[in-house]
């Protein structure tokens, strides 16, 4: 019996990161959440960093 194929980790991590980032942006756009650049910049950089990290860790593992 073949083991189930593992999910593509980059797509999974990037997708989750984008869902979280998109939700924060949606709340900000609707005025529910107020964020300055000082607060938003770390979130955006962390999102990009997480995706780059996932990309580096999964490179060639596809």
């Amino acid at each position: 019996m073949r083991p189930p194929a593992s999910p593509d980790r980059l797509s999974l991590i990037a997708g989750l990161v984008l869902v979280v980032l998109g939700t924060v942006l949606l709340l900000c756009s609707r005025g529910t959440l107020q964020m300055s650049i000082g607060a938003m910049a770390p979130i955006a950089f962390a999102a990009v960093g997480a995706i780059l990290l996932a990309s580096g860790l999964t490179r060639g593992a596809r």
């Binding site: 999910p7 593509d8 980790r9 980059l10 797509s11 999974l12 990037a14 997708g15 989750l16 990161v17 984008l18 869902v19 979280v20 980032l21 998109g22 939700t23 942006l25 949606l26 900000c28 756009s29 609707r30 964020m35 300055s36 650049i37 000082g38 607060a39 938003m40 910049a41 979130i43 955006a44 999102a47 990009v48 995706i51 990309s55 490179r59 060639g60 596809r62």
Partner: protein, 379 residues
Amino acid sequence: MNETPDTPLPPPPDATPPPAKRFERSSSDRVIGGVCGGLGRYFRIVATLVRIGMVALALLGGTGLIVYAAALVLVPADGEVPAGPTESRDRALAIGIAISLTIAGVVFGGFGLGAGGALFPIAGLCVAGLAVWWLVSGERPAGGAGTIARRAALGVALIVGCFALAVGSFFASGLGGGVVIASLVIAAGATLVVSAFAGGARWLVLPALAIALPLAFVTAAGIDLDGGFGEKRVRPGSVAEIRESYRLGMGELVVDLRDVKLPAGDRRVKLGVGTGHALVLVDEGVCVASTATVGVGGVFVFEREGGGVDVDWSDERRAPKSTPRLIVEGDIGLGVLEVRHDGEVDHGPGRRSDREHVAESNDACATRTASRGSGASAG
């Protein structure tokens, strides 16, 4: 019967001469495309020294970038299969494109090679395209010239496409489409999560980031592009003509109040600019108090100034009873709020240094009661 002694035959002379010294990109000693490694091997010097030289050339006018880009396209990698008819055609095509770009750069740029000129952005874009393709696909720039040129072109297309998406997202977000853009980002993320179990859809990551990051910036900086684009100048002739608020989406907003004889007492004016420059010109007999929020940019009120990110400016002043006081309330997303007396309204915020000799002050005010501002320098 004479027997000839069994003497061994001398070895036959080597029929194949040693291979000629060739300049090839190194596949074993490389950081990007193996150009510096190949140069080091060719000249028998340490490749790191070549890399340092190449970086220095890149910084000095961009020549290093041009040389590197040309070598990537024109120089074969070591161990590469001799070019067949198709690769020869590719190489000829690449050489043709490189020569055409060079001529176009020199002719239309009007610059010399030493200054980099128009070649610098072209070569920079090609190298950036290769780097992007490398990052996205994980494939190092190897193979024939045609393959490298195709990858660079794909990378450049990716850059251009993402740039277009980012610009579109910036304007859409600034014009009130933030909710739609954010929903698209969430949808892209959800699609990526679902697709991860069916092979993945990695190509979706870059476009999603390209629309998400400008939205994040626009939202955080409070950029509101409603109110039109371009240059807007208003010069009321009387107090009755002064509006309570003025707004511009992107560009330069000039509110010239020097023709108005303001009565004693307070007069409030709100200025909103999404991206650009808001300038208030007032008569020297008017005391100006100001408050402003600026996402990214600065505030210049006579001799006082402040700037940076998330600027929260306040310069509260009191005026003598007989003196009019103008209270300026600025809301700038990305740009500059400026208040001054002199009338050279064609000064942009970036050219403030041109007129720094003009000593202006808020002399009509009696006292300064309180002030704050990120990076503000009190005069």
